[in-house]
């Protein structure tokens, strides 16, 4: 999983081509979507994906054939985003983890938000509401929703992709779902749904 690791495989050029085409390239659409959801810009997403694939190829001998290529690629993309892109843009968004912990322990809030937002309101969200709500989340929260709900990664995979403990993955996902619901209930209100 570690791209920084010394190469521990040896592949012929033919094998490299096979790995790249059969194990890396099939994930390009998911990678592009991930890049876009992180940067919220199509051109930046293209740069990020291209950069990720070139890095993946350069470090291909750190990749063990038949292991989780998708998680490996997602991790490279996420690191490129943090190291290259985020530095450039300077997003001021340090998540307050103490707040996350407190929030995680308060069940009442959940019930309240749930009552605020109803399934039938969601059925009318046929436009960009959900996409806008997702994009409006802080990037750390957005990321866990993308990895879990859009890409179906498990806790352990997310922990490796994001370099955080599994407990943090869980609490971040929990908080992210709550924030997303808050955004959606704002949309629902503006669409004329009452909170009763």
């Amino acid at each position: 999983m570690e791209i920084e690791d010394a190469p521990n495989q040896h592949y012929s050029d033919l094998e490299k081509g096979e790995i790249f085409n059969n194990e890396f390239l099939p994930h390009i659409h998911s990678m592009y979507n991930f890049g876009y959801r992180l940067t919220l810009d199509r051109d930046d997403a293209k740069d990020l994906v291209q950069d990720t694939y070139f890095k993946a190829f350069r470090f291909i001998e750190s990749f063990q054939r038949g292991t989780n290529a998708k998680a490996w690629l997602f991790r490279i993309l996420k690191n490129s985003f943090i190291n290259d892109y985020r530095k450039k843009v300077k997003e001021p968004n340090k998540v307050d983890y103490q707040e996350v912990e407190t929030y995680y322990n308060s069940e009442d809030v959940d019930r309240q938000i749930t009552q605020d937002l109803r399934v039938d309101a969601l059925k009318d969200m046929i436009g960009d509401e959900i996409s806008n709500a997702l994009n409006a989340l802080d990037v750390d929260f957005r990321t866990v929703i993308i990895l879990c709900d859009l890409e179906g990664f498990k806790y352990e995979e997310m922990a490796k992709i994001l370099d955080i403990p599994i407990g943090t993955v869980r609490s971040r996902l929990h908080r992210a779902r709550q924030l997303l619901k808050e955004k959606l209930s704002e949309y629902a209100k503006s669409m004329g749904y009452k909170n009763t």
Binding site: N33, K46, L134, R177
Partner: protein, 87 residues
């Protein structure tokens, strides 16, 4: 409910609350036994049933609305040709 062993109970014996069970389900981390148990649990726990309906609808909406299509073919071709040149 009643006699069913609760598959959510951790080895340390801690019993999770509704919210913790629901999160495992939503996050796709629940075992088959846990999913089965939760289904029965929802039959007599209205808050769980309502939250589950809502959260799963959101998850579904995310999947259908936010998996924004394919990568541009010009990007795919560029990457392919660059790599082909380097092999």
């Amino acid at each position: 409910m009643s006699n069913l062993p609760n598959p959510f109970i951790s080895p340390s014996g801690k019993k999770p609350n509704c919210m913790e069970m629901l999160q495992l389900i939503l996050d796709g981390q629940a075992t088959a036994d846990q999913s089965e148990y939760f289904k029965t649990h929802m039959d007599h726990c209205m808050p769980c049933f309502k939250s589950y309906q809502l959260d799963m609808s959101i998850k579904e909406l995310l999947r259908t609305k936010c998996c924004g299509g394919d990568a541009p073919s010009e990007l795919v071709n560029k990457i392919k040709s660059q790599i082909a040149q380097n092999i």
